[in-house]
């Protein structure tokens, strides 16, 4: 059975790697965006789904990663250095932000991160010397790694997919390590976790900062994907859709963010036939889905099994 899972996982990975080969450029762009959001979602899933903290600032970390990549790549720095830098910058900022917010109850983190996101947005808009203000930064080069150019959309998709597999692998390893157990203990019963000697502040802070670092890596892919960064995509609204992505997919489930990213990135595209009304329909669908399936889409099989029993 376990064997079968690995084979299935491998088959799906290979299929996803080769699937967009025939797509037109817009389809390829959306698919790559889906991969980028998935990476950010994997990080947020650690914070929200495994460690049980509400974070509404993933959009800001995506933005910090994207602007880091934009500024550094325009200065000629290699993407081999940019990915770790984006991750480290976000990790450090995550620590600084989490430290005051985590001193108090967990829904305060929601508001602290929400406000932090607003502040990052203001910084991106106001500090023109660094970020170009509302005009943003354009002509961001696509990565060149070891003389391999990832300029064509399909090549860039493959690069993004490899980054996703690596980041997903690291996360799977982390969740199986003693740290992963500590995160789950934290979510399920923080007071009990504390009483058996788990340093709750340390692990909560780590879960938050590692989640932020994933946002940074996703951002470092977002910038060269769009090849243009401006403050708008990193507003509070985007952080809300990132949280939505994790919860709607199924928080605390490893592949939850993949399904969630379909809802956030692809569903609005499919609803475009409804024109002006597509976001309104989107909102109503979210409400209906939460009322019917509060555990997210991946809880559907459990739910159906539960009904039959």
């Amino acid at each position: 059975m376990k064997y079968l899972r690995w084979v299935a996982l491998l088959a799906v990975s290979v299929a996803l790697y080769f699937a967009p080969g025939q797509m037109k450029s817009y389809g390829l762009y959306i698919t790559t965006l889906w991969v980028v959001y998935w990476i950010a979602g994997v990080g947020l899933n650690l914070t929200v789904g495994y460690a049980g903290q509400i974070s509404l600032g993933q959009g800001a970390f995506l933005g910090i990663g994207a602007y880091t990549a934009a500024v550094l790549s325009k200065a000629g720095v290699s993407y081999l250095a940019i990915f770790p830098t984006a991750a480290l910058v976000c990790f450090a900022i995550g620590l600084l932000l989490g430290f005051p917010a985590l001193r108090v109850q967990h829904h305060y983190l929601a508001f602290a991160t929400l406000g932090f996101n607003m502040l990052v947005f203001l910084f991106l808009r106001n500090e023109e010397w660094l970020t170009g203000g509302t005009f943003g930064l354009n002509n961001i080069p696509r990565p060149v790694i070891f003389d391999v150019r990832f300029t064509r959309p399909l090549d860039f998709y493959h690069l993004s997919f490899v980054v996703l597999v690596v980041m997903g692998g690291v996360m799977a390893w982390l969740l199986r390590s003693p740290w992963g157990r500590a995160f789950a203990a934290l979510r399920d019963n923080p007071i009990r976790a504390e009483s058996v000697g788990i340093n709750t502040t340390f692990y909560t802070l780590m879960a938050f900062a590692i989640g932020a670092a994933y946002g940074g890596v996703a951002g470092a892919l977002f910038a060269p994907l769009v090849q243009f960064v401006e403050p708008a995509p990193f507003s509070v609204a985007n952080s809300l859709s990132m949280l939505l992505m994790v919860i709607a997919g199924g928080s605390g489930r490893f592949f939850g963010p993949a399904v969630g990213a379909v809802i956030v990135v692809l569903l609005p595209e499919w609803l475009r036939v409804a024109q002006d009304w597509y976001l309104a329909i989107f909102g109503v669908l979210i409400v209906l889905m939460m009322v019917w399936l509060p555990g997210g889409l991946l809880s559907l099989p459990d739910r159906l099994r539960g009904r039959r029993a």
């Binding site: 001193r103 002006d276 909102g283 009322v291 555990g295």
Partner: protein, 292 residues
Amino acid sequence: MTDFLQLVIAGMATGGCYALAALGFTLLWQASGTVNFALGEMVMLPAFLMLFFINVVGLALPLAFVAAVGVALVVMGWGFKVAIVDPLIRHGVIPLVIATLGLSIAMKQTVKGVATAQVRTFPSIFSDTLLNVGGVHVSVGDIGTVVVACALVAGLQAFLGRTLTGRAMQAVAQNRDAAVVLGINVERMVLYAFLINALLAAVAALLITPVYLAKFDMGDTLGLKAFYAAIIGGFNNSRGALLGGLLVGVMENLVGAYVSSGYKEGVALALFMVVIVFRPQGLLGTVVERKV
């Protein structure tokens, strides 16, 4: 100095509106543990309802207000509780947060679809004359807004503290199980909290829209400021919401004028951060013990 006073008074008027929304948020939180992310949209919707009753139906502003309050009580009070909060509340805070986020998107985009993204002017219940008090120009609208907001908070405080129903609501907020044992109809008290929230939102809409104009996304910043006001003042205290709202409104105006207009929107966050580091229960709040 006169500039300073004018900024303070205008800030208090805005802050009074933040306070009304914040108060609704606090009440819902206390009564049912609902974190309502559609708060800003619940101010936006009555504003558009009033515009609908004025422009399409042809009612006068006071009648339009009464009609909008009626719709708000049914849709945003009772309907919100029955359709969204009741089925979700037993699953914990997070699914409800997401559902209210979805609700906020749905409300915003529906209004955009019906009324377009155009910015609309809104009639004020106050006259637009400027009073000259010792060289300081203050508008009647600002003074009126502050007075109405303070009166509403004082009235609510009296209702919660002096009447049997109000005290029953407080009992539910403090300890649900004990309230059930005492024979209080908990569900009805929670419903009252939702109705009061809808009423406060409608009044906030009446007061703030003449200044900030009606637009489908007007709730975005308003909702956020109200959250901060609620936490700054203290989550479990209704006077706290008023203090927090006024503080945010005034500080924003002063920072916008004297420090940097670009970072005006960050003031509420800065205040919030300082408060949660040094006084996590809020300025007027009391510490809540953890339950094991």
